[in-house]
Symmetry: C2
Subunit: 731 residues, 2 copies
């Protein structure tokens, strides 16, 4: 059965990992610079690794406990799929591995990028971007590796050629490793996000505001922690996050493909299942191609570099748009599968991702009026900066929601041939539109990950006194990355919402499967076996007038706010300990501000590490437990409401927080460029307050929401057996 194009999936996975290795070796050959540069890089690397070690310790315990529970549910009570404990662990393991490799690369790359930038902007770009590419390729490579392994194993155990229904078992099982990836990603994002912002806020508040020393000044005890934070938050956290999105979109499409076509025979259903995987595999080839397109002439201007970067990303996107049609045509020519419609849905996804990115760009770049207005508000003090930033952030959600709404309707419409009751095909279209967004993740993630590398290179240059021109170059690299990264972020958040919506349908399919496997004797089950989506909704009483659904929607929306509030306060608390520690060192270590005595960097690193570990548990465990509690009390209907509420509010809150934070950041930079009085003026001080508030908005709470909505969906899917059984017992 595993014929056709499936071989491409493991092959391209291997290709991605080989190129990642090649780029890594290449980067390592570059000179690490002067002794002080090496020393600083070593400090940061050790701090980052110490953090990751500590974080993985906690995560391993959580994974042992959860997989123990899953094993008990599966083998002790027989109300869960027996593969879940293993799938859960592999998902978590590979996600963690992707973060680990990405961070390892980043911490080796920063000093090398700084040293390269001291020669030329172009050299700096090449080292930083190729190092970012390592991360991008590791993520997609490991994701397809995990998918391939499970697919081979499950195909051997449940051959679809024997019974087409086996495809439903295979796809619903592989989906559960998404929960492992999501859990790992949430810890990485929340822990890393708290770490990086506690350090950043702490360093800024005492260093910049109170002591009046510049950013990344080696006299600031929190400065190493701040640089470590960029790695653990922006690199390791982002790697785990996108690993999870990438897998989730592919696996949910596969599950919907199986559900939609299983009645038409194993062959067609199998093709529908592997289609997203093959498209992803082709995306890897095109990403690698795109990475090689990013090469610039010596002495290129900043504009030329930007064009080169854009050329790499855009050519991958255009090529995948063409190649995916070829893949779909090859797989489905001559069948009833509406491959033109599905292809159109995929293109819709790509365009929606670009659109969200553009809107982000408009609302957060100082080249446009919204951010300039926030900067202007700084003339009347910090309060009006905050009001204006929050107001603008809230307004900025309108366009992305309209884009995603349009994408939902169009993707559903094209794939279902505009028959709005053809649920499975319509939702397959929504799911594959998310695959479209993420298909060239290999290169888009490279443009995202190289930002923090450039940032760290800048930190290293500053601390090693390499001179302002190097810092200027690394800043240029960083801001260069921000422009392309906006698109990457648009893809990440857009695909999260679309994937999660598609997973709603997978959840109902899991519920149907659950009834068939665990409660075959129940009167509902016979109706469910032959039932279509409409019957499933009716039998599980999923209607909009069922109070359980209504309450679910409220709780889901509330969960997004609660989660945000907890992570915001966590940053506040962790930053407070950092502020106190920095103040203490300034007070107690004589000569520190004159640069005569070395600050105790390690202590600040330890404080951030401890704070992040302590604070990440509650919000993460809440995200896991809410769907279980709602499932037990309110059943399938309650969970459906819960997920709809959390996806919609979570998506919107995520955009609000990301855009407010981004706009405050750039409003501050706008003033620092010499507008409205420039650095050290009163408006600048007001803008710094905005930027500080924006830090946890854009780097802790906002990005974590992305994962929250998918994790809650995944937990609901994995725990469906428990939900069903508890509700049958209680009724």
């Amino acid at each position: 059965m595993l014929n056709d194009l499936f071989w491409m999936v493991p092959a391209c996975s291997a290709l991605a990992l080989i190129f990642a290795w090649y780029f890594f070796r290449n980067m390592m050959k570059h000179d690490e610079g002067t002794d002080i540069m090496k020393k600083i890089a070593d400090h940061v690397r050790k701090g980052a690794m110490a953090y990751l070690k500590q974080q993985y310790k906690v995560v391993v315990i959580v994974f042992i406990v959860l997989s123990g529970i899953f094993a008990f549910l599966a083998y002790g009570l027989n109300i869960q799929n027996p593969f879940v404990p293993f799938a859960f662990i592999t998902g978590g393991f590979f996600s963690g591995l992707a973060g680990f490799f990405g961070m390892k690369t980043a911490t080796y790359a920063s000093s090398r990028a700084a040293f390269a930038a001291s020669k030329s902007l172009n050299d700096g770009l090449r080292v930083a971007f190729r190092s970012g590419a390592v991360m991008g390729l590791v993520v997609v490579g490991l994701a397809l590796l995990d998918i391939s392994i499970w697919f081979y194993i499950l195909n051997a155990i449940y051959p679809p050629s024997v019974d087409a229904n086996n495809l439903l078992i295979i796809t619903t099982t592989t989906l559960t490793f998404g929960m492992g990836a999501s859990t790992q990603a949430l810890f990485a994002r929340v822990g890393g996000g708290i770490y990086t912002k506690a350090a950043d806020v702490g360093a800024d508040l005492v260093g910049k505001v109170e002591a009046g020393i510049p950013e990344d000044d080696p006299r600031n005890p929190a400065t190493i922690a701040d640089n470590v934070g960029d790695n653990v938050g922006d690199v390791a956290g982002m790697g785990a996050d996108l690993y999870e999105s990438y897998c989730g979109s592919i696996l949910s499409t596969a599950a919907l493909g199986a559900a939609a076509f299983v009645s038409l025979g194993a062959d067609l259903a199998f093709r529908a299942v592997i289609a997203p995987m093959v498209i992803a595999a082709v995306g890897i080839i095109l990403s690698i191609l795109g990475i090689f397109f990013v090469r610039t002439r010596e002495g290129a201007s900043q504009k030329q570099l930007l064009r080169s970067l854009g050329f790499g990303v855009n050519s991958s996107a255009v090529l995948i748009a063409i190649m995916s049609w070829v893949v779909l045509w090859f797989l489905f020519r001559g069948t009833v599968f509406n491959y033109n419609g599905v292809w159109a849905s995929m293109i819709i996804g790509l365009l929606a991702g670009i659109g969200i990115g553009q809107s982000t760009e408009y609302f957060t770049s100082s080249s446009y009026r919204p951010t300039q207005r926030i900067a202007n508000a700084s003339q009347t003090g910090p309060a009006t900066v905050i009001i204006s930033g929050i107001g603008t952030g809230m307004i900025s959600v309108a366009i992305p929601v309209i884009i995603v709404g349009t994408a939902i309707i169009l993707a559903y419409g094209f794939s279902s041939s505009w028959n709005f009751t053809n649920f499975n095909m319509g939702l397959y279209g929504i799911a594959i539109s998310a695959v479209g967004m993420l298909s060239t993740l290999g290169i888009t993630l490279a443009t995202d990950a190289y930002g923090p590398i450039a940032d760290n290179a800048g930190g290293n240059a500053e601390m090693s006194h390499l001179g302002p021109e190097v810092r200027k170059r690394t800043d240029a690299l960083d801001s260069l990355g921000n422009t392309t990264a906006a698109t990457g972020k648009g893809f990440a958040i857009g695909s999260a919402a679309l994937t999660a919506l598609a997973l709603l349908a997978s959840f109902l399919e899991e519920a149907r499967q659950g009834m068939i496997h665990f409660h075959p004797e129940h009167p509902f089950t016979q109706e469910l076996i032959k039932g279509n989506m409409m019957d499933i909704l009716r039998l599980f009483d999923v209607t909009m007038m069922n109070p359980k659904v209504l309450v679910g929607v409220f709780i889901g929306a509330m969960a997004a706010f609660l989660f945000c509030g907890l992570t915001m306060n966590a940053v506040g608390r962790a930053a407070k300990s950092m502020v106190e520690e920095v103040r203490r060192q300034f007070r107690e270590i004589a000569g520190i501000l004159e640069g005569k005595a070395e600050p105790d960097y390690a202590r600040c690193v330890a404080i951030s590490t401890k704070g992040a570990q302590r604070e990440m548990l509650l919000p993460s465990l809440l995200a896991i437990s809410i769907p279980i509690i709602i499932g037990v009390i309110f059943g399938i209907a309650g969970v459906m409401g819960l997920l709809l509420g959390s996806i919609s509010s979570g998506f919107i809150l995520a955009i609000f927080m990301a855009n407010s934070g981004g706009a405050w950041d750039n409003a501050k930079k706008f003033i620092e460029e010499g507008n409205l009085g420039g650095k050290r003026s009163d408006p600048h001080k007001a803008a710094v307050v905005g930027d500080t508030v924006g830090d946890p908005f854009k780097d802790t709470s906002g990005p974590s929401l992305n994962i929250l909505i998918k994790l809650m969906t995944m937990v609901s899917i994995v725990m469906v057996g428990v939900t069903l059984t508890m509700n049958l017992i209680m009724m």
Copy 2:
């Protein structure tokens, strides 16, 4: 047919208005104080009336345009209920009248309350509280008057004794005057909210922070505008808001009662329709009784005053709990109507309102840890105050959502005898739980409205140099009111969410009625006539897998954020003009800060008025047009999603913003009481930033959301004919 207890509704309406007049006359007999007090009161009164006049001018234009459109739809195209244009106008008229009377009373009362407070705390309380009672009684009196008039007219035209189905026509028609009330309320809340906060933020930023003069100092040019703002925002805005909630809860219960019982005959259905009205009428009697309970001995301590106030409110609540059972028993004894269950639902509503109030109290009072933590965060500057306030506000939504969720399930369960597919009875239970919350609005609104009166009295005392002990007393009165007002606010927001949810069912019923009246020939219509709720959902394709519903939910949640963002930015902009004007006066009018020259108060009043008028239109028109646009594009299914999304996100955002704002306010007051360095310390300055950000949170955007969710629901209900017709044309 209009027998039984209905006579109580007009009778109690008259009673309320008579007592309002009595209390008003009583207040007017008090001495207005010294000449300077009279002059200041006159300034404020004229400013407030000028604003109201300007506001009503704009609103009248909007009403003329909208009722013209409604008339065209009804008489030109025959796709709308012919009573809508008139019902719309009366709803708006009475709502505006309630605000006008309330504000008139408040502006006469403030100097009298100040003068009374200069004698004793007790005297101050009596004048302020009885003046607040005028507002409370006017609101409930006018509401029941409007309901009575329409009910008599429609009963004469469509006698239920001839055809029980006439009750459906009567109740769905009266429901439409809710849209008039909502529209007026939204303008009042948004316009008033922008006015008051522009003035407040402007006065504080330049006066307190820059010039270092105390609050309400007559040297501050914005100080009169600030005091005017308390009247137009907190009094007139709140009056219109609660008029609307009160009508909405009664009318939606009536409509659900008709839908639930019409098949069992006109008599029982009629009783189900008038039950919420009679309970409201009894609530008026008990509110008046409660108002008279608030009487204190001369020389009573602050604690005794608080107890006296609490005794008045609580005894009304306890009595209505008992009396409503008597009403329900009297109306439904010996029928199939589950009056014990419905009574239980009502009690659930009362308890939920109290619970939400308690939670508000916990999260915003400086006696508890959340607000103290925000105050502590001020030690590390304004950024951490903001982070902590936003974090705490987001966390604070959890308990109210759990309370409302529990109330939904229990109210639905008790009324439907725990049969979750008995939609109409279950939703009747949800609707009547909102009636329970608001039944004693006469007195709860009195405790709410007397706060701004006491606040204004304090302003008057300050400006007339009455000495700090008077200011202290008015501050005590204000904070006294805050405690009881928390419960009132809990009732207002809780009832808004429950009413809006109940209106979802009314919307579907209107859609069914719409098909029967406007499209009798359509094949669906025959099925709809005999269909139950499940069939209605199926026929309109309202399922959670319909992409139109999904998109609707996203757009609905987005609308709440967009609306908040627009109002936040509006305050920011209006405050900016005020800041610039105050700075200009300080700069250009010589001797102003030495108290030698009088500032140009009128100019500041005019700036706030103009700013509010300009800024209130866009958000308000957006709220009206979004449901129409979604209805036209996505039909009934899309609107259902839209409403569910806006109600859930709107409710949660409203609580978040109200609680963050309240907590910042009290954190600042906590520091001003001498904690953490007290007034003029760095923590105090940081806390003032928090308070300023919180102003539009708690007084503009937050309370407007309350109305937004109901207005969007009302618009959907009124425009259902257009939605149906446009969708039939397009398909």
